[in-house]
Amino acid sequence: MPRTLRYREAIREAMIEEMERDANVFLMGEEVGHYQGAYKVSEGMLEKFGAKRVVDTPIAESGFAGIGVGAAMVGLRPIIEFMTWNFSAVAFDQILNNAAKVRQMSGGQFTCPIVFRGPNASARQVGSQHSHAMEHFYATIPGVKVIAPAFPADAKGLMKAAIRDDNPVLVMESETLYSFKGEVPDDQDVIPFGKATIPRAGTDVTIVAYSRMTHVALDAAAALAKEGIEAEVIDLRSLRPLDEDTIIRSVQKTHRCVVVHEGWPYGGVGAEIADRVQRLAFDSLDAPILRVTSLDVPMPYNATLEQMCIPQAPRVVAAVKRVVARTSSFTPSGN
């Protein structure tokens, strides 16, 4: 029987189930215990597991990220919560140089089974320092895996997989998704990494998205359908590994591709996808690949300007129309 859960509840359930399953799993971060989680993701977990396994930390991201890495190297399975991924910037060295590297530099002797998780990308009017889409910085690093679920069921299944994975896994959640409700099967099992889903099938264009932008892409697809353009929406779920096959198969069918994500246009996940599509589906393309990203400026505080900077459905619609108009053979159905 599927139940309706909020995104935050799905993540909490995944953590609780995995902590019940394996005594080596523990949660550590700022305000995860007594405060019940800055975004209430870990609500009730301190009462359930005690202070040994739900560990409140001082404000020392580099310190507790490093503690997690060291503990993971000798057999524990830490879940390290960043209050938001923005603050992981001060722990970047621990992730880049220790978590991601220890396996190779030890010749495979030590592994680092750790989860780093927390909300990522824009929230609401939190300004330039608190709105970063950090996945672009991390997805480039071999040695880590990066996932970014959009729906509660995926969040639960992927989080369980992340905790069981023997590698560092970075889970990009979203403050703007925490209250999003969705159906989660009672027995939601582990969801493997590197498999995208197609929440909406279509024939005219492929829109690739992840995390909250999947919902924006779906809104855009609904609007486009009213104009007779059938967009196929791919929800990546996982950024590293990346489900290249699903993207390529879709583009071979639709001949057009638009990528939507938060974060700046210079480099990043969208550029990576554009590179793969042009290499692997060059002959299928009828139009350049377009990216709809955050604007190339620090995130402004002003509500109107902020919304202007974050990708919105109308911008996705406009991008789709540009690629669709490229071919003379295209006649919108219904015309």
Partner: protein, 363 residues
């Protein structure tokens, strides 16, 4: 168990230095290890011989490293431990084999002290498949799971929180192990040192932080990098025990680190120890060490703790023939390690994928 949610502040108020942190004068300690050799049981003389052998092995291996580096057989950065051997050898001698050691890029000596085979270390330096990290780590990254050598790390201070994490795991599991974390005095200025100490103190982790103060951080003397001369004053702010002394006598190093190890093992309390030492070589192979005078270096070499240990053995009645045999044995081991490294195969490129991720990358 870590009790971060109910921080007890008693440790802060009761904190008192383990040692009064005087400015130590070499050779004036009245520690048991300083007892005249004639009063020392012969077992202790054998123990000193063992430590002397380890120090000599480190020195001779590293002299060969320098030669191999000049021949182009070792690449990249190479940071030698020559002059500092008594620190690593003495400190690691205070451990049980199952205890953990973590250090910086200046790691060959400590790796040898932890029991890693000279062959695996030399082969790693030569970038060979038989190296401890299969030739993928190199000089700065000596790891050995079997000996609980948790690596050398290249980012100054970055391994200090990680070491605290290893100690956190020991406390979490109650496995009774102690972690020794080595770093240079240059690391005392970076955040990782402070966050690592702060959390280890807050959660009372079984760890000993050992600052190897070799007077220079590359070319910067301590006086130009820190506002205080005594590194262990940093322990006061975190309310943990501290100790400070010269590494002139390897047995004294062992005995004083043993006190900190005991505090970690029995009371689960961290200690910050500053061991004053001196490196005889440049910071790395490319450093001509122009920031110090030849006279200063010669003065320091006169106090070489390794030679001191040999002299103590002689004075204690350890036969010269036995010393010679021990030294020849070291030469054989060094030559064997170099030969082994030379003759070992290069690692296969197929290693790269399997050492980047454990298990399948995607499913």
């Amino acid at each position: 168990m870590p009790q971060p949610t109910t921080p007890s502040h008693d440790s802060q108020s009761e904190a008192k230095p383990a040692a009064a942190s005087p400015t130590p004068t070499p050779g004036t300690s009245t520690a048991p290890s300083q007892l005249g050799p004639e009063t020392r049981p012969s077992g202790e003389l054998d123990h000193l011989a063992f430590l002397y052998r380890q120090m000599l092995l480190i020195r001779r291996i590293e002299e060969e490293c320098a030669r191999a580096y000049a021949e182009g057989k070792i690449g990249g950065f190479l940071h030698l431990y020559i002059g500092q051997e008594a620190v690593g050898v003495g400190a690691v001698a205070a451990l049980k084999p199952e205890d953990y050691v973590i250090t910086t890029y200046r790691d060959h000596g400590i790796a040898l002290a932890k029991g890693m085979p000279a062959r695996a270390i030399m082969a790693e330096l030569f970038g060979k498949a038989t190296g401890c990290s299969k030739g993928l780590g190199g000089s700065m990254h000596m790891f050995d799971r079997e000996h609980n050598m948790l690596g050398g790390y290249g980012i100054v201070g970055g391994h200090i929180p990680l070491a605290a994490g290893v100690a956190f795991a020991s406390k979490y599991r109650g496995d009774g192990k102690v972690t020794l974390c080595f770093f240079g005095e240059g690391a005392v200025s970076i955040g990782g040192f402070h966050e690592g100490l702060s959390l280890a103190a807050l959660w009372k982790l079984p760890i000993v932080f050992i600052c190897e103060n070799n007077e220079y951080s590359m070319g910067t003397p301590l006086s130009r990098s820190m506002s205080v001369e005594d590194v262990t004053t940093k322990a006061l702010g975190y309310g943990i025990d501290r100790d400070r002394f010269f590494a002139s006598d390897v047995l004294e190093v062992e005995q004083r680190i043993a006190e900190a190890v005991q505090r970690a093992r029995e009371q689960s309390l961290p200690t910050l120890v500053e061991i004053r030492t001196y490196r005889f070589r440049g910071h790395s192979m490319s450093d001509p060490a122009k920031y110090r005078t030849q006279a200063e270096l010669e003065e320091q070499k006169k106090k070489d703790p390794m030679h001191r240990a040999r002299a103590r053995l002689s004075a204690g009645g350890y036969a010269e023939t036995r010393l010679k045999a021990l030294e020849e044995d070291v030469e054989t081991e060094v030559a064997d390690a170099v030969k082994f490294a030379n003759e070992s195969p290069e690692p296969d490129a197929s290693l790269l994928e399997e050492t980047t991720y454990s298990g399948p990358f995607a499913y």
